[in-house]
């Protein structure tokens, strides 16, 4: 530092310019725990201030869309599990709905209800991870353990249901692979009863914790215009103050029969669209999911769980269709091009985290480095789904 700078003291306006040196490029990832998977963020920093962020993705790329060209329509379901491995049921759901719309298949009532119950259980499980690891990013260890405690119950139910603990492959084109076990409703209701009592506990533990609010409110603000331009969906878009949810605004399955609200960010602790808003949207969505599950369990009818007029080897008529559904991360879309054969001609997966991560290159510059960690955490990305 030059003598003049010392002479004027630290408060002088142009000290920072005098201190300014070359920008330092640092790699955040690919093995950094705060990047939620194998993501590499190339960050250009001046001290602790971020000047530019470039996301390098593709470490988990398996070209599932190429694999689809070699599978028949039913077989590819198992690969959709592997996109968002924290919410595979939501991925299954998206693909099943996309293909069924093109086939014009009527899914049996019982299957629809079980699907909704599973999808909402999965949404809670995924949000629990989002909340727990977000707390972890902010230096709060304890909430993660509680989140995993409840998530474990969901995994137990889904394991009893499908046989798998992580990747379920439970949905099938035209319904479900097999019916639910005896006592499924009882287990689900028991879980929902517990879960609804636990949500206020999380609020006390994390949401309204003063340190947590200091770290997340007014941090990483993503406004509505940016969300629209960058294709952000799900809790990121809702955190920006818009109650947009495919379950209500582009209805699929039987969601139109249930009563539930769409939580959205209101800038309660700071600015609309900050990290706290996105976090809180997830927290409130878990409660709404519990409401949906209760209604679906009440209305659960008997009957078959597979569309009976559907052949083993389905052939989707020629044409293309983009279908979107609401996963826990946002809008999961399948743009399917069928040539009339027994295999998909082209299936493009529009994954929510792909677009949600893109926005970091826009909002990152100007942040403190520690706020960048908070923002990435609040986006709740899953790299399996970004890289496909």
């Amino acid at each position: 530092m030059s003598e003049t700078a010392t002479g004027r003291g630290w408060a002088a306006q142009d000290v920072r310019r005098e201190l300014h040196s070359e920008l330092l490029e640092i790699n955040m990832g690919p093995q950094h725990p705060a990047t939620h998977g194998v993501l590499r963020l190339l960050v250009r920093t001046d001290g602790e201030i971020v000047h530019g962020v470039t996301a390098h993705i593709g470490y988990l790329h398996r070209c599932a869309e190429k694999i689809a060209e070699g599978c028949d329509w039913r077989q590819w379901m198992v690969y959709t599990d592997r996109f968002d491995y924290l919410a595979p049921i939501n991925m299954n759901f998206g693909y099943a709905v996309a293909v069924e719309r093109m086939l014009g298949v009527q899914v049996p009532e019982r299957a629809e209800h079980i699907r909704v119950i599973c999808a909402e259980l999965q949404r809670i499980a995924s949000h629990l991870i989002a909340i727990g690891t977000f707390g972890l990013d902010m230096g709060a260890w304890t909430p993660l353990l509680y989140c995993f405690r409840e998530r474990e119950e969901i995994l137990n139910i889904l394991e009893r249901l499908s046989g798998g603990r992580m990747l379920y492959n439970y949905f099938d084109i035209g319904g479900l692979r097999f019916d639910a076990y005896d006592g499924f409703e009882r287990d689900v209701l028991a879980f929902v009863n517990i879960m609804e009592q636990k949500i206020p506990e999380y609020d006390t533990l994390l949401s309204y914790n003063k340190i947590f609010i200091e770290r997340t409110a007014d941090v990483g603000v993503i406004d509505l215009a940016t969300c629209l331009a960058y294709g952000c969906t799900g809790p990121v878009l809702r955190g920006a103050g818009v109650p947009f949810d495919c379950r209500k605004d582009d209805p699929y399955s039987i969601y139109d029969r249930f009563e539930f609200d769409i939580p959205y960010g209101e800038g309660e602790q700071g600015t609309v669209g900050d990290c706290w808003d996105r976090y809180m949207v997830r927290m409130r969505e878990m409660y709404e999911s519990c409401r949906i599950i209760r209604q679906a369990v009440d209305a659960l009818p008997g009957g078959p769980v597979k569309a009976e007029d559907l052949k083993k080897l389905v052939k989707v008529p020629q044409g293309s269709l983009y279908t979107r559904t609401e996963s826990s991360k946002g809008e999961i879309g399948f743009h399917i091009f069928a040539d009339g054969g027994s295999k998909p001609f082209r299936t493009k997966v529009r994954s929510p985290s792909f677009s949600n991560l893109h926005v970091i290159e826009k909002v990152g510059p100007g942040m403190m480095l520690s706020d960048l960690v908070a923002t990435v955490g609040s986006l709740d990305i899953v790299l399996g789904e970004i890289d496909r």
Partner: protein, 220 residues
């Protein structure tokens, strides 16, 4: 607004650049690849249309589409005993294309845009200036299908490595047997040697293959 009305509006505005109305599961317009940028800007900015949201951008290879059920990729044929892929002489001859799925949050309507470009010169105008989200989707379309987007701010591979050769989602793509010394067919690469001619497998690996049959190693 109905898809036919949207199409008519586009046609009255852009004339020849709007080629055809596409009817099917989803309704849309086939437009000229060079002018998709200005058409996109109009779709977004016109108050009656208001397509502020690009839901999805898909690059695809139309090769073999029209022969129903015949639109097949070159399967990974198998590997010879040196671990190199068996060659295929199939050459794709169809067009490449891009599909845009649009949504208007203001009006709640949807529309699709389609573009077809010849395989020999696959260039489409970029829409990244209109919908910033297109920037990454277009990079993906370049990476996996090999469509160039004129006017894209930073067109480079996104999912695959910069040094990768070829575009996997083309129907005539043949997967390489190895990449930078790493065999891609699931063998124990620590035991393999690599030189310009390909991967050399140690004798015991070859013997094992011969004893257990093709299902252990030769399927891609």
């Amino acid at each position: 607004m109905e898809a036919t009305a949207i199409h008519a509006l586009l046609q009255s505005r852009f004339g020849d650049a709007v080629l055809d109305y596409v009817d099917g599961f989803e309704k849309g317009s086939l437009v000229a690849p060079g002018r998709v940028g200005e058409i996109a800007a109009f779709l977004r900015d016109d108050p009656a249309l208001g397509f502020e949201s690009l839901m999805c951008l898909t690059g695809l290879d139309w090769d073999g589409y029209d022969a129903t059920g015949k639109g097949k990729s070159v399967d990974i044929l198998g590997y010879d005993e040196l671990g190199r892929p068996e060659a295929s002489d199939r050459v794709g001859d169809g067009d490449l294309g891009v599909a845009y799925a649009l949504y208007s949050p203001r009006h709640g309507h949807k529309h699709a845009l389609y573009v077809r470009v010849p395989r020999a010169a696959p260039e489409v105008a970029s829409t990244a200036g209109v919908w910033p989200t297109a920037a990454w989707h277009e990079r993906e379309a370049w990476d996996l299908v090999g469509i160039r987007f004129a006017g894209h701010p930073d067109l480079k591979r996104i999912l695959l490595d910069e040094a990768w050769e070829g575009h996997p989602l083309r129907k005539d793509y043949v997967m390489p047997g190895a990449w930078q010394g790493v065999p891609l067919d699931g063998r124990d690469y620590a035991a393999c040697k690599w030189d310009e001619s390909g991967v050399t497998l140690p004798d015991d690996v070859k013997r094992q293959d011969a004893a257990t049959g093709p299902e252990t190693g030769n399927q891609g």
